[in-house]
């Protein structure tokens, strides 16, 4: 019985493999290319000012915002790190001098 099943599986494997392969390509649909379509002819010119609002979005404020955020975030972090470090180092120095004097503040 087992041998018969094994033979059946081996015989049907070549037919099942293409279907499995097709399924696996479906997993990576991003790699598929749609059929090339020729661009549609332009039948009218639309001025930029008449575009819908979502298409009029200027790039410059977004670009400036992105770079400003990066610089501010990095600068803010460096300042915060410097302040934390100077606070801890100040406390370490104070404790060390207290220990050297043999007293505790």
């Amino acid at each position: 019985m087992r041998a018969a099943l094994l033979v059946l599986v081996l015989l049907t494997a070549p037919f099942g493999a293409p279907a499995f392969a097709a399924g696996s390509t479906g997993f990576g649909l991003a790699g598929q290319q749609p059929d090339a379509q020729p661009p549609k002819p332009v039948d009218e010119f639309v001025p930029v000012s008449q575009l819908p609002p979502q298409d009029q979005l200027p790039a410059a404020p977004l670009l400036v915002s992105a770079y400003a955020f990066v610089w501010l975030a990095l600068f803010g972090y460096v300042v915060s790190l410097g302040r934390r470090l100077s606070k801890v180092q100040g406390e370490v120095e104070r404790l060390e001098s207290d220990i050297a004097k043999g007293t505790r503040a």
């Binding site: 990576g28 991003a30 790039a59 977004l62 992105a66 934390r84 801890v88 370490v92």
Partner: protein, 218 residues
């Protein structure tokens, strides 16, 4: 602090000051135009975000299995930098997407996995801060999950349907765009090394302070 720190910090500041000139001189991308220039800071930040999560995960694993406080300090420092660079990625990305895709956010695999990695890093910091005794081990376990998420974030764009550009974009960049990108990568990588060293130094000072308090109590 080591002797190399200040000269390298000065070089890094100069590199960051020079980077906008290289970026401005790089060609405009054909379909996205000006807004694509966000890429030159977005991608290096994303790589540092992932590298930082890996550093945090490896240091946490070593802390869990060997118990060395040095590795714990490194993991804590790297977790904070993961949050910083993750914030940069998650803010600059939507600013770029708003113009390029027409939406601020898409719940696709890469964006969602990146957000998840960022939240894991936040969870690490919150557990360390408010978790009480033993929270260092718990946070180290969290960092392992954060590190496991990294390969998933990186390869996700190549396997799933997404509007995010795949990883194959970088090797195909023309020379001037590639030069601006790799210069920015060098800037961010050096900055990461410097900030990591400074943050570890802060943890070392805190450990020293704790030992001083203990010696006073004895």
């Amino acid at each position: 602090m080591p002797k190399w720190f200040m000269p390298l910090a000065a070089i890094n500041a100069l590199m960051f000051a020079a980077s906008p000139f290289l970026i401005a001189n790089a060609d405009y991308e054909a379909t996205m135009g000006l807004v694509q220039k966000i890429f030159y800071y977005h991608l290096p930040s994303a790589w540092i975000f992932l590298i930082s999560a890996i550093v945090c995960g490896i240091a946490s694993a070593r802390y869990l299995f060997r118990g060395s406080p040095r590795h714990d300090r490194l993991a804590y420092a790297a977790a904070e930098l993961t949050v910083l660079f993750g914030a940069i990625v998650l803010v600059t990305g939507p600013l770029w997407a708003r113009k390029a895709w027409g939406v601020w956010w898409q719940w696709d695999v890469r964006l969602t996995a990146s957000l998840m990695g960022w939240m894991v890093a936040w969870a690490y910091l919150l557990v360390r801060r408010y978790g009480g005794p033993g929270s260092d081990k718990l946070a180290a376990g969290l960092a392992l999950f954060g590190m496991a998420n990294v390969p998933f974030v990186y390869v996700s764009v190549n396997y799933w349907r997404t509007i995010h550009p795949p990883t194959t974009v970088v090797p195909t960049l023309p020379v001037d765009m590639g030069a601006a990108l790799w210069f920015a990568v060098a800037c961010f990588l050096l900055l990461f090394v410097l900030l990591l060293r400074l943050r570890v130094h802060l943890e070392e000072q805190r450990a020293r302070l704790d030992s001083l308090y203990l010696s006073l109590d004895e």
